[in-house]
């Protein structure tokens, strides 16, 4: 389904963008974007840790309502990574599109996004009512556990991308 003929037109478009050109022509652009991508990932994962560790119960003494302040931080960090990630993609799309680790990574990010929407629309309001030290319900814990597990896998898959090329 996702064979060369399918992705080639999309990949060519990405490759021809101005961003792609800059990424290939200026030698420090790629390492700089990588650094942004890494810093973004630590901010994103850290924000999720505060929220998810609280929901899971290990950080029960963090005020739940206050922990939610880290949601906009997580979204901001995700945007840093979305933009720097797009820059990598524009630099060399024909390398990324057929890469199995890249495909899985994108799939898991989508699932993590759905999981985050489930958290926001299904649990967020209820969780905000939790008193300090009070346990979250089981469903919320499943979402928090999934969130951490998915993001760990996403980080690992990102690191595996250069090693599954053939």
């Amino acid at each position: 389904m996702w064979d060369y003929d399918t992705y080639a037109p999309i990949a060519s478009w990405f490759e021809s963008t101005w961003v792609g050109e800059q990424m290939r022509n200026i030698f420090w652009m790629f390492p700089m974007m990588e650094t942004f991508h890494f810093i973004g990932l630590t901010i994103l994962f850290g924000s999720l840790l505060v929220i998810d560790v609280r929901v899971l119960g290990f950080g029960r003494f963090i005020n739940m309502r206050a922990a939610m302040h880290f949601i906009p931080v997580a979204i901001g960090a995700f945007c840093i990574n979305l933009l720097s990630g797009l820059a990598f993609l524009c630099a060399d799309p024909f390398r990324y599109f057929p890469n199995v680790a890249f495909q899985w990574k994108m799939g898991l990010i989508l699932i993590a996004g759905i999981n985050a929407l489930w958290f926001w629309f299904g649990e967020h309001e209820e969780l905000k009512q939790l008193a300090d030290g009070e346990d979250a319900d089981f469903r919320a814990k499943v979402i928090a556990g999934l969130s951490l597990a998915l993001w760990v896998c996403i980080i690992v898959l990102g690191r595996f991308m250069p090693y599954v090329e053939y």
């Binding site: 650094t35 560790v53 931080v73």
Partner: protein, 149 residues
């Protein structure tokens, strides 16, 4: 130098250079550990700098345990990665800077927590906190540079 050669020729060095999946697996652990330890450090310093003020900075104590777990993952995975080519890394400027940044960042984190608990003025505490974040980000930047310099 003799010690570095011994490390490079030792079992860990051979393993990380020659095993097919060893290197990417250890490298991924290093990235996950980084996200964990730095995630906690960044979140805590955001709080100290004045963001999400309604979280008690002291409630973060438990989160530090998570951060330490990340740090230990990275200490172990970092040592294994170092065995890849210790004779090169040891003399590499970006590696030396990276270690210096992490040591400084670690000490500053402790200093920041002490001033949160003590009666240090808010201005000084925030300054220390900003320096702490800068050191850890410096660690990421120099770590990335290691692959290019």
């Amino acid at each position: 130098m003799g010690f570095l050669v011994w490390l490079e020729e030792g079992a860990l060095g051979v393993f990380i250079r020659e095993s097919l999946w060893g290197y990417p697996i250890v490298l991924s652990s290093h990235a996950v550990g980084m996200a964990t330890v730095m995630g906690v450090v960044v979140a805590l310093n955001f709080r100290v700098l004045g963001y999400a003020k309604d979280i008690s900075a002291l409630a973060f104590d438990k989160l530090f345990l998570v951060g330490w777990a990340g740090f230990i993952i990275n200490l172990i995975s970092g040592l294994i990665l170092f065995c890849n080519t210790p004779t090169t890394y040891f003399f590499q400027g970006s590696f030396q800077l990276k270690i210096a940044f992490i040591v400084m960042g670690g000490i500053l984190m402790k200093v920041v927590m002490n001033s949160v608990r003590g009666d240090t003025s808010e201005g000084i505490t925030k300054l220390l906190s900003a320096a702490c974040i800068a050191c850890w980000f410096g660690g990421v930047i120099t770590g990335r540079l290691m692959a290019y310099v």
